[in-house]
């Protein structure tokens, strides 16, 4: 929709071009959320795509995605064959509520910064232990794990003037076995619970819980726990008030499904476990 209060579009060509942050400024990446709701307090758009960041970089250390990498670009990536976590990428792209047309425009960084519980890029990044690189207005950088970047519904760790620059996925996480589980109130609806399990070659299990709770959480186990131990761990880690309550799922159902899907993931990853 038209954002009629916007007076200026700033299109910085490099970091030095970034304007001093003012009240009413807002970063524009894909724009698929920004232009989907009234933004009556916003006056200037800072167009991050003008910075011309390369969408991705694949090295032996891992995968780096620019915040402005689109979902479509991410989905098209050809990842090294030993990164067996690669199917998660497609699964998480498909978990986006928006259509494939939105993929052409929406960005990975935008999905993270929105910090919606159901943000599937948050799930992907949290499960694969991605690190956020943040540009501060003073020219410095800081790094945060995704689980510390996303603080709650539509609440991220960015301070005024800070910009999410990129996400780095360590190769160690990309070489884990993964299992993806998701449920929503309608077949392709917004995720009510989205859980991802990983298992490394040493047998350690992680279960990342998103969508059902207000911010992502990752539970780690040195070995596959028994089902009842998993249930207890979830109950202890996730207090009732952390379960998200909105029209896409009642909290008691989200808790119930979180337990159920975590159990399914545990069972799926328990097979073929190293001795």
């Amino acid at each position: 929709m038209d954002l009629n209060t916007i007076e200026t579009v700033i299109r910085p060509r490099d970091r030095a071009d970034l304007p001093d942050w003012r009240d009413g400024d807002v970063c524009l990446a894909g724009g698929t959320w920004l232009f989907s709701e009234p933004q009556p307090g916003k006056r200037r758009l800072v167009d991050l795509t003008a910075l011309g960041w390369a969408p991705d970089a694949i090295t032996a250390e891992g995968l780096t995605l620019a915040a402005t990498c689109t979902i479509a670009e991410l989905d098209r990536l050809e990842l090294p064959p030993d990164w067996i976590a690669a199917p998660l990428v497609g699964q998480c792209c498909r978990a986006l509520l928006g259509s494939f047309k939105v993929w052409n425009v929406a960005t990975v960084g935008g999905n993270l910064c929105m910090a919606l519980p159901a943000g599937p890029m948050i799930a992907l990044a949290a499960a694969l232990e991605a690190i956020c690189t943040i540009w501060a207005p003073d020219g410095s950088e800081r790094r945060l794990p995704v689980t510390e970047f996303v603080l709650g519904p539509q609440q991220n760790a960015l301070r005024p003037g800070e910009i999410l620059r990129s996400l780095t996925f360590p190769a160690s996480a990309l070489t884990r076995r993964t299992v993806f589980r998701r449920i929503s109130l309608s077949p392709n609806g917004r995720s009510g619970a989205l859980l991802i399990g990983t298992r490394d070659s040493a047998g350690a299990l992680t279960i990342t819980v998103t969508a059902s709770i207000r911010r992502p959480l990752r539970l780690g186990f040195a070995a596959v726990p028994r089902r009842d131990a998993l249930e207890r761990a979830l109950a202890e880690t996730i207090p009732d008030e952390l379960y998200y309550d909105d029209v896409h799922g009642a909290p008691d159902w989200r808790r119930h499904m979180t337990q159920h899907l975590a159990g399914e993931i545990r069972d799926a990853l328990a097979d073929g476990a190293p001795a």
């Binding site: 929709m1 209060t5 698929t32 232009f35 795509t49 392709n188």
Partner: protein, 910 residues
């Protein structure tokens, strides 16, 4: 900025925050539609350098140097003013061949998306089309179009009645040329925006407009001080007294969050929005009534307080000022019958608020024509009743106002209301300029109307042999802040549901109450979907308890020709058995379900079947009128003028078929012009499923009268008796040889239908479902629907009406809930939070028609638009009960609401 649009170089300067959708429309590309303006519905889809994008989400400035293709240019380069191309893109041709649309508002975006799909995506349309919403079709026709399956009859000749002819406007729709309400507005039109109430109940103490007027571009601010003091109802009926006159154009008393506070009229939308933000309003907040159960309590806050209407007539004498309407009636001796029954089942069922979600939002464009006459082009199902209401409101003579509709982008009852026209008229009168008001999708959710939420307590008594001895209904309907349709809906809702059963003892106690909530209004089914959900669920329990098959229970108890049709009183009425096809519908569905119950569920899921039936009067009561003019021009072509609006219901096609059949000419020589108060004397409107049975009957009568004149004239010219002349094959056959119609015209004739007597139509729905015993997810394995529509004038279109009704009802049964929080604020303000069925959510429904011929309707036809909606929720609930043992008593059956009941049901069964 320079870009290419449909092959044409375009230079322009987008506003900084402008999206590409409005930029393209301002450049004249009106095939780019606004359904949601938020990236959820896909109606605005265009191609950007060949990639499909939602243009509402795309910043216009980013189109610099790029190549845009809109629906208009899909088949080849063109300019905005060019007519539809002769050569279509293959996917446009496929949508034409399959008639993959109804109202056609979603179609440009649907086609632009489909054109971009690769073979892999086409194999899973549920995923590929999740960003494209259609409210009319139920998606089957769209899936068929994309798969290349054709449906329209292309064989020329023969009687057009019974042929699947395409909609006359089809090629305009698939090429983006069909003009909807707000396409091509005048260049000097002002724009209006409305400040809405933040409070559920308040009095406006003062509105300071100084800062608003200081904003450049603001032309006028309208407040309660500018409002006519006459009250009206937004709900429109043939008899305006059917709805309580409780509404002002602008009122100092605010009765729901979202009510109009003031309107700003400005040169641009941006200035109008800024003007609204600059209004300084002082409110005196009052206690609000949010709980309908408390509405009739002695100490409940009063929604329409007589003290707020000094000088007005006393309000109707009801036992409580919050009682908006009531129905009480009894036939036989209900209590005695319950005590004598072998089985009594009682349960309370709740139906929630749901929204129509027509893809075209409400919108109206008003101006004064060169003679100074007030003219409105509006998205309405009732242009004539709106004209009458405006005349009454502003004190004008009838001929001082003209109301017209372009093609209307969906209605579903939501446009049987005057929700925009009153305020646009006031703004035009005040400014003297053309004024346009387009509601946002958010306003559709927060400030238009919904289905009436209802609590229905049903009690059924039965004998061991399955005979029903008594039925009682206690209904509490919440009309919200205003009483539009409150009475009509509970009367209708408590009528056919009971009249369908030959049970000697029946009772109704029904109230519609005011609350400080978004008003309810007319909605497909008009009260019956809520009560039928209750009764048909209860009958399922009765059948189970008695060990009787649910189809047989209906056979034992449903009315048959000869039975009096009685709901809750013995008052005489004008409903007759013009035909009767319920028996066929029950047999068809039962047999089809048995022969093919659908796929087996996945391991771990529970499967079950359920059915329900519905009866509906084919026409609303107490008069529904239509005038038709049919004219033969000197070229031998025929024009039908009719008042009813086309919003995807297909009446234009049917009227063309009727006229062509009577006059013996090819359908493509008949032009149908509708929905203009200047065209004919009167038309009650396109509601109550009357487009075929009332307006169509008027067309039939006019065409028959014209045929008579043609025969007379041919007789005069050829010296033969008129009776010896026959219309066929586009000619008049006379004893002295054939005469061309062009030798006979011009001639004209009129016809009228008055909506009485009325007949009855029937629908039977069955589902086989799979339910996940842990998550509560419901999957439909098989959906079968039989309809008794009398003569089916256009099988393809009628099938589409049934499929669309079933799909919309699946939405209400499984997903949709217009949630309102404790402060009275609507929570679901966007389509991403109010999930209407997408392609993946709607299974194929096998549609079967009973073979009947009605004595009342034209060519034996009956209405078939609203009624397919009505049995769906109960049939689904009954199937879930069969699968899990859980009797669900409230819709929607969403996983998070039903999983506990399902788990309890499943474990109880084991």
């Amino acid at each position: 900025m320079r870009l290419t649009i449909n092959g044409q170089r375009h230079d322009g300067a987008p506003r900084p925050g402008q999206c590409l959708r409005t930029y393209l429309r301002e450049a004249g590309w009106f095939g780019v539609k606004k359904g949601c303006d938020a990236g959820d519905c896909g109606a605005c889809t265009i191609h950007l350098d060949g990639e499909p994008v939602h243009s509402c989400l795309f910043p216009a400035f980013r189109a610099e140097g790029r190549s845009v293709t809109t629906i208009e240019g899909l088949a080849g380069f063109c300019r905005p003013e060019d007519a539809a191309p002769d050569a279509l893109h293959p996917i446009q041709a496929a949508f034409l061949a399959a008639q993959g649309f109804q109202c056609g508002f979603c179609t440009p975006g649907m086609i632009m998306t489909a054109a971009a799909l690769d073979q892999g995506q086409k194999r899973d349309l549920g995923i590929a089309l999740k960003g494209n919403l259609c409210r009319c079709t139920g998606y089957r026709a769209i899936r068929d179009a994309i798969a290349g399956r054709a449906h329209r009859d292309t064989t020329a000749g023969g009687d057009p009645i019974g042929q699947s002819l395409p909609a006359p406007v089809a090629s305009q729709v698939v090429t983006g040329r069909a003009r909807f309400t707000l396409d091509a507005p005048p260049a000097d039109a002002l724009h209006m925006k409305v400040l809405r109430s933040p409070h559920a109940h308040a009095r406006i103490v003062a509105i300071d407009t100084t800062e608003a007027y200081a904003i450049p571009g603001v032309v006028a601010v309208l407040t309660y001080a500018d409002s006519p003091q006459r009250r009206f109802s937004t709900g429109r009926h043939q008899d305006p007294r059917d709805d309580a006159a409780d509404t002002l154009v602008l009122d100092a008393i605010l009765r729901f969050v979202g009510q109009r506070v003031a309107a700003v009229v400005a040169e641009t939308v941006a200035a109008a929005e800024a003007g609204c933000r600059a209004l300084r309003v002082t409110y005196e907040v009052r206690p609000a009534l949010r709980d309908p159960d408390r509405a009739l309590a002695a100490d409940a806050p009063t929604v329409h307080d007589p003290l707020d209407r000094p000088g007005d007539d006393a309000p109707p004498l009801t036992r409580h000022p919050n009682l908006s309407a009531e129905v009480h009636g009894e036939v036989g001796h209900v209590e005695a019958a319950f005590s004598e029954a072998n089985l009594v089942y009682e349960q309370t069922f709740r139906s929630q608020r749901v929204q129509h979600v027509a893809l075209e939002t409400h919108g109206c464009l008003g101006w004064r024509d060169p003679d100074g006459r007030l003219t409105l082009r509006t998205s309405s199902q009732v242009p004539f009743l709106t004209r009458d209401a405006l005349c009454n409101l502003f004190g004008f003579e009838r001929d001082a106002v003209r109301v017209v509709c372009a093609r209307v982008g969906g209605g579903f009852g939501g446009k049987q209301e005057m929700l925009t026209e009153d305020l646009v008229a006031l703004a035009v009168l005040r400014t003297g300029r053309p004024v346009m008001w387009e509601l946002t999708r958010q306003e559709q959710f927060t400030a238009t109307t919904t289905r009436h939420p209802m609590r229905v307590t049903v009690k059924v008594g039965a004998r061991r042999d399955g005979r029903l001895t008594a039925i009682s209904l206690e209904v509490l309907s919440e009309t919200g802040a205003y009483g539009n349709h409150a009475g009509g809906v509970i009367h209708h809702g408590c009528n056919e549901v009971l009249a369908a059963y030959a049970c000697p003892n029946k009772r109704v106690d029904a109230c519609a109450v005011y609350t400080h909530a978004l008003p309810a209004g007319a909605f497909r089914g008009y009260g019956l979907s809520q009560t039928i959900f209750a009764l048909e669920s209860a009958l399922d329990e009765v059948a189970r308890s008695l060990g009787i098959d649910p189809f047989d229970l209906r056979r034992i108890n449903a009315v048959r020709p000869g039975d009096p049709m009685v709901s809750n009183s013995l008052e005489p009425h004008d409903v007759v058995y013009g035909s009767y096809g319920l028996d066929q519908c029950l047999d068809l569905v039962e047999r089809t379900l048995k022969s093919d119950p659908g796929p087996e569920p996945e391991p771990g899921w529970r499967a079950g079947t359920g059915m329900a039936m519905a009866m509906i009067d084919t026409i609303p009561p107490r008069g529904h009128h239509a005038d038709a003019h049919v004219k033969l021009d000197p070229e031998g072509r025929v024009t039908v003028r009719i008042g009813t609006a086309e919003f995807g219901n297909g009446t234009t096609t049917v009227h063309r078929q009727i006229a062509a059949s009577v006059l013996g000419i090819a359908p493509d020589r008949v032009h149908v012009a509708g929905a203009d108060t200047d065209a004919v004397d009167h038309d009650t409107g396109a509601y109550g499923s009357t487009g075929t049975v009332v307006a169509g009957l008027a067309v039939l009568r006019a065409a028959e009268a014209l045929a008579e004149r043609i025969r007379e004239r041919a007789g005069e010219l050829s010296g033969a008796e008129p009776a010896a002349c026959r219309l066929a094959s586009g000619m008049v056959e006379t004893p002295s040889g054939p005469m061309a119609l062009s030798e006979i015209g011009p001639l004209a004739a009129r016809g009228r239908a008055d909506g009485s007597p009325r007949s009855v139509a029937f629908n039977v729905q069955a589902f086989r479902v799979a339910v996940h015993p842990v998550s509560g997810e419901v999957r439909i394995l098989r959906s079968i629907h039989a309809a008794d529509a009398g003569t089916v004038i256009n099988p393809m279109q009628c099938r589409g009406q049934v499929e669309g009704g079933v799909a919309q009802a699946i939405g209400a049964a499984l997903y949709e809930d217009l949630a309102i929080d404790s402060d009275g604020q609507v929570v679901t303000q966007a389509l991403r939070d109010y999930h209407i069925p997408a392609c993946a959510d709607v299974p194929e429904t096998e549609v079967l028609f009973a073979n009947t011929h009605d004595s009342v309707g034209p060519f034996g036809a009956k209405s078939m638009s609203e009624s397919p909606y009505n049995p769906v929720a109960a049939a689904l609930g009954n199937a879930i009960r069969d699968a899990t043992g859980a009797r669900l008593t409230a819709t929607p059956f969403a996983p998070d609401r039903i999983f506990r009941a399902v788990m309890a049901g499943v474990s109880g069964e084991g």
